[in-house]
């Protein structure tokens, strides 16, 4: 197991440590303009500078909007589909699960590209259908572009969670369900009254994991920004902002500080995940 920890240290702990180090310094040209650059210790200066940038802060607001659309839709659809598949009424549940699961194995960037074309007027049948229904899709407006990005993620990850929730449902003791049926509970009552509370822990864990993922949003705005320049800028999400800080502005200090902030926020969310699900698990 030591090789694992050598590698784990090399690819996780050292980079994070180095990023912390970089985030505390600023490279400045020395006083007279020659003699090369020097690293100046600026303490938390890069953090206040990055947090002080309204563009960086707006990135968090953007992914929050995106998360508010994506997370509930995905979770409700996944729980509902898992309950439907688990009910005695559904046919061919293995086949349905398999098909629902497959989009999660499509590389995210290619999923974004395929949907990009499905969102492009004059190419996409979908835009045509929406127009026929009387809607006027306009990706340059956030009311359309945010749900459009959320839809890519819903398409990709609902099925993945359906499989997990379905497995959790299968772990519910059959006697519990049979007892309910004997007591005269129908499919609907069993699903809502008995099964739903029992997959609560799995659903809350999946929800929190999804939230952590939402913070990292990158592919969808990167790809869809090309047809929606009016609503998705090149620095729309925190990760896009950091990418630009590092590779367009060559401001490694700001990129490092921002990465640490983002990782800290992810860490806090993960901690909340563990705490919340522990309480849920004890209850269950």
């Amino acid at each position: 197991m030591s090789p694992f920890f050598v590698l784990f240290t090399a690819v996780t702990l050292i980079p994070v440590g180095y990023a912390v180090y970089l985030s505390l310094y600023r490279t400045e040209a020395s006083g007279l303009g020659f003699g090369g650059a020097v690293d100046v210790f600026v303490g938390l200066g890069n953090y206040t500078r990055t947090l002080g940038d309204a563009v960086f802060r707006s990135g968090f607001a953007h992914v929050a909007e995106y998360g508010i659309v994506y997370v509930p839709v995905m979770l409700i659809a996944a729980v509902a589909a898992a309950l439907l598949l688990d009910s005695a009424l559904a046919k061919a549940s293995r086949f349905f699960q398999l098909v629902f699961f497959l989009p999660s194995q499509v590389p995210g960037i290619l999923a974004a590209i395929i949907w990009l074309y499905l969102y492009t007027p004059h190419v996409s049948p979908v835009v045509q259908w929406l127009t026929d229904l009387g809607a006027t899709p306009n990706l340059n407006h956030p009311a359309w572009s945010v749900p459009a990005m959320a839809n890519v993620a819903v398409w990709q990850f609902t099925g993945y969670n359906i499989v997990i929730f379905y497995a959790a449902l299968k772990a519910v003791p059959r006697e519990v369900i049979e007892a309910a049926v004997v007591d005269g509970a129908g499919e609907w009552r069993t699903a809502v009254g008995i099964k739903l509370p029992l997959i609560g822990p799995a659903a809350s864990l999946a929800g929190m994991m999804t939230l952590v993922g939402v913070l990292q949003l990158f592919n969808e705005p990167l790809v869809l920004g090309s047809i929606a320049p009016g609503s998705i800028s090149a620095v729309w999400s925190p990760n896009l902002y950091l990418y630009n800080a590092a590779f367009t502005d060559n401001d490694y200090a700001a990129a490092a500080a921002g990465s640490i902030l983002l990782a800290l926020l992810s860490g806090v969310l993960s901690f909340v995940v563990i705490r919340l699900t522990r309480r849920w698990r004890d209850l269950a």
Binding site: M1, P3, F4, F5, L7, F8, A10, V11, T12, P15, Y18, A19, A81, L84, L85, L89, A90, K91, L98, V99, F100, L102, P103, Q105, V106, P107, G108, I109, L110, A111, I113, I114, W115, L118, V123, P125, W155, I164, A167, A168, A171, E187, A202, V212, Q216, F218, S226, I227, L242, Y243, A246, F247, A255, A256, S259, A263, S266, G267, S270, I274
Partner: protein, 282 residues
């Protein structure tokens, strides 16, 4: 009366599932049709009409685009994902096995660190990785993409679960009594018993690297080192401005990237279902 209502609910339940199925399949069907259409046919808007078909022409265009570099990208993808999965499978199996079978100071604390690692998304560490890789001059080399793929905290978690289930402690004890060393015991007894677990870990790691975009996107600037999905992204980014015919090349290339993973997941259901299930009921 009761049978009618049961029949109706059956129809509703299966109807809803079929609607979900259509939604899931829509982009895939669109991709398949787009692969078959001529470039003009895709951009004319009536993808679902079966006119202007030329799948072989699209494939030929893909083969010739940029001197056939796509197939180099494809081999790169296989290299990154294949080597990554192989190394990660063995390293994770060893780590999970050690967590299960040995006692050492700080074990549970280290394991907690692994679980935190499961929760940290790859994109969160990618930029720090880039910063350190540029410091030690590994940026824009094969290693910059390969080495991070070797580490899978989720794999270690799975390996520990599998080791508890498949490797009986008595067998290990017996091997030790016979004088086999720790490393030998692992290679000769632990690893073979863990085979189904290792296969699951390798499948997940392979798929994870195959799908990865952010890490190669920031690490690689030499297009000869691109994995296929990165190359396709770059082509697509060019096509919206310069060359609409590139769209069909991107579609064919995407289909060839998606196909093997989908095929693998259809044929290896036993393994990934086992992996997801142990994740769900932990």
């Amino acid at each position: 009366m009761r049978t009618t209502s049961r029949f109706t609910s059956k129809a509703v339940v299966n109807g809803v599932l079929v609607v979900g199925l259509l939604y899931t399949l829509l982009p895939m069907v669109f991709l398949v049709l787009a692969v078959c259409k001529t470039p003009g046919g895709i951009l004319s808007g009536d993808v679902f009409s079966l006119r202007e078909l030329d799948p072989l022409g699209n494939l030929r265009a893909l083969i010739h685009e940029d001197g056939g570099i796509y197939f180099r990208w494809y081999l790169n993808s296989i290299l990154y994902a294949g080597v990554g999965a192989l190394v990660a499978g063995i390293v994770c199996a060893a780590a999970g096995y050690a967590f299960d079978k040995y006692d050492f100071p700080g074990k549970e604390r280290l394991y907690a660190l692994v679980l935190v690692g499961v929760l940290i998304p790859g994109t969160a560490t990618a930029l720090p990785l880039y910063l350190i890789a540029s410091k030690i001059h590994l940026v824009n080399t094969v290693w910059a993409v390969l080495i991070p793929g070797f580490v899978s905290p989720f794999g270690v978690f799975l390996a520990r679960v599998f080791s508890q289930a498949y490797v009986p402690g008595e067998v290990i004890e017996a091997a030790r009594m016979d004088g086999a060393g720790d490393v030998r015991t692992f290679w000769r007894i632990g690893l073979p018993l863990l085979k189904p677990g290792v296969a699951t870990i390798m499948l997940f790691t392979f798929a994870g690297i195959w799908q990865g975009f952010y890490l190669p996107y920031i690490m690689l600037s030499d297009e000869k080192l691109y994995p296929a999905s990165l190359g396709l992204y770059i082509w697509n980014a060019q096509s919206s401005t310069e060359d609409p015919a590139m769209a069909s090349v991107v579609f064919v290339g995407s289909a060839i990237v998606i196909l093997p993973v989908v095929a693998a997941f259809i044929s290896l259901q036993r393994y990934w279902r086992a992996g997801l299930t142990s994740g769900a009921v932990k």
